[in-house]
């Protein structure tokens, strides 16, 4: 155990900062998800795909479902956010985007502590997640 070095204060600081952003993003995302789901299921906004139609096509492959219902891919849902079903994507996007914000939040701290290796890892992770979120990566259909 003699090999163990003292844990750098900045390491813990970054870990706490990450945890703090993660906690806030998680609560915000879950809250948004539940609020929008309430609006959706209570029918306070019209659904783009009516419930009855949805139940008849949830057993289809995604490509067929999208084609049949004229649902856009990628960020195209933003244009449909006025509909109850697509409103739910706000909460889902917050939940899926929280990690990107967490990484961005620790980059200044990593730079301050001259931890360039982890700064590089953090920036690389942000890029990977942003590329995934951008919709530029084309996934095939079947």
């Amino acid at each position: 155990m003699a090999e163990i070095k003292t844990i750098d204060e900045s390491v813990l600081e970054n870990q706490y900062r990450y945890a703090s952003v993660l906690g806030k993003g998680m609560y915000l995302g879950l809250l948004a998800l539940l609020a929008t789901f309430t609006i959706y299921t209570l029918g306070l906004l019209d659904s783009y795909i009516p419930f009855e139609k949805l139940s008849s096509c949830w057993n289809m492959p995604v490509s067929e479902y999208l084609h049949l219902n004229h649902v856009p891919q990628g960020w195209g849902w933003i244009k449909l956010v006025g509909y109850g079903d697509f409103l739910n994507f706000i909460g889902i996007s917050i939940l899926s985007g929280t990690t990107i914000l967490c990484y961005i939040s620790i980059i200044p701290g990593l730079l301050r502590s001259k931890d360039y290796l982890y700064t590089f890892i953090a920036i690389a992770e942000v890029l990977v997640l942003v590329i995934a979120a951008s919709g530029f990566i084309a996934a095939g259909g079947h």
Binding site: A19, L22, T36, N59, Q73, N88, A124, A132
Partner: protein, 326 residues
């Protein structure tokens, strides 16, 4: 007084979750009836009203949440084979929902695990970078392959996971004589307070390059099948890289919040997210997990673990047969 305060806080916490749970069910059923009431009762291909399956989904994921905690597995690994095997939803939507279920659980647990020092951000970051890139690749591959091939591969993977669960041993405090070169450069080491022992435990890791290579495979499988990958993360972190068991379990759970995020975006952008499936599943599994944690005190873990392995094995065989068209 502090104890009473904490108890009160916990009670409020549980009340809040129960409220969310019933809210979800009662939102689906009455609106379902109301909408159906506008005309002829709309039914799906199986002859059920549209709200039937989301409500059943909620209850099944609730039970799944309990078993996941008691059996020591993540919700995602149970969710995908069971829901794809026994529900009418297409595998594309099940995988998308499975990733969001695993992601939500990881996001909920992440802040506490990081603040307690049990999850190590320094250990997770290099691993997560590799796993998330590979999860994206896995998601792209999984969405490009024919459904039956993915279903067969899923069945085989789930059956393999059962064997892994049966065979794998755990090491509470692995004996790491010396850090390897890479982990020394990355400064992956730490100290955590072990409440059960009442002392601070110092830890370090070894065999980092091997561990990172294994995370390539884990990432691809997580993305391809929409599984949370705790079943694979923990043995690699604990047995291969030598992190203490508590650090491995906590870091694995936190790691899912990064790996599953990358794959979830691919599924989201592809249109594989159906809110009517996702929300009841998330609320169901999270409520079940809360109950599971309470039952943990009285349950017999060995029996539950065998039961979970049995359920997984059955779901794996079902997925395999479904893929083979039998």
């Amino acid at each position: 007084m502090a104890c009473v305060g904490t108890g009160g806080k916990m009670k409020n916490h549980y009340r809040c979750f129960w409220f969310l749970m019933f809210l979800t069910v009662f939102l689906i059923i009455p609106t379902g009836s109301a909408f159906s009431g506008t005309g002829a009762v709309s039914v799906d291909s199986g002859g059920h009203a549209w709200w039937f399956w989301p409500v059943i989904l909620f209850f099944v994921t609730f039970v799944m949440g309990i078993f996941a905690v008691l059996g020591g597995v993540g919700g995602g690994v149970l969710y995908v084979p069971i829901i794809s095997g026994f529900f009418p939803f297409h595998l594309d939507f099940v995988r998308g929902a499975g990733l969001l279920v695993a992601l939500s659980g990881a996001l909920a647990a992440g802040p506490g695990l990081l603040k307690s020092g049990l999850a190590s951000l320094r250990l997770a970051m290099p691993v997560a970078l590799i796993a998330s890139i590979c999860a994206i690749a896995g998601a792209v591959i999984g969405l490009a392959l024919p459904t039956n091939i993915v279903q067969i591969s899923l069945g085989i993977t789930i059956i393999a996971i059962c064997f892994l669960m049966l065979a794998s041993k755990k090491s509470t405090y692995p004996n790491v004589q010396k850090s390897d070169h890479l982990s020394s450069i990355l400064k992956i080491y730490g100290v955590y307070y072990d409440e059960s022992m009442g002392e601070e435990i110092e830890w370090k890791i070894h065999r980092t390059p091997v561990g990172l290579i294994l995370f390539i495979v884990i990432g691809i499988m997580a993305g391809m099948f929409g599984l949370g990958a705790g079943w694979a993360n923990i043995p690699v972190l604990n047995l291969v890289m030598g992190a203490p068991l508590k650090i491995s379990v906590a870091t694995s759970k936190f790691l899912l919040s990064i790996t599953d995020t990358s794959a979830a975006w691919i599924y989201l952008n592809k249109g594989c997210i159906m809110p009517l499936m996702v929300v009841p599943s998330i609320v169901g599994i999270m409520s079940g997990s809360i109950v599971g944690v309470r039952l943990l005190k009285i349950a017999k873990p060995t029996f539950i673990r065998w039961m979970v392995i049995g359920i997984l094995g059955f779901a794996g065989i079902k997925a395999l047969l479904k893929g083979l068209g039998i």
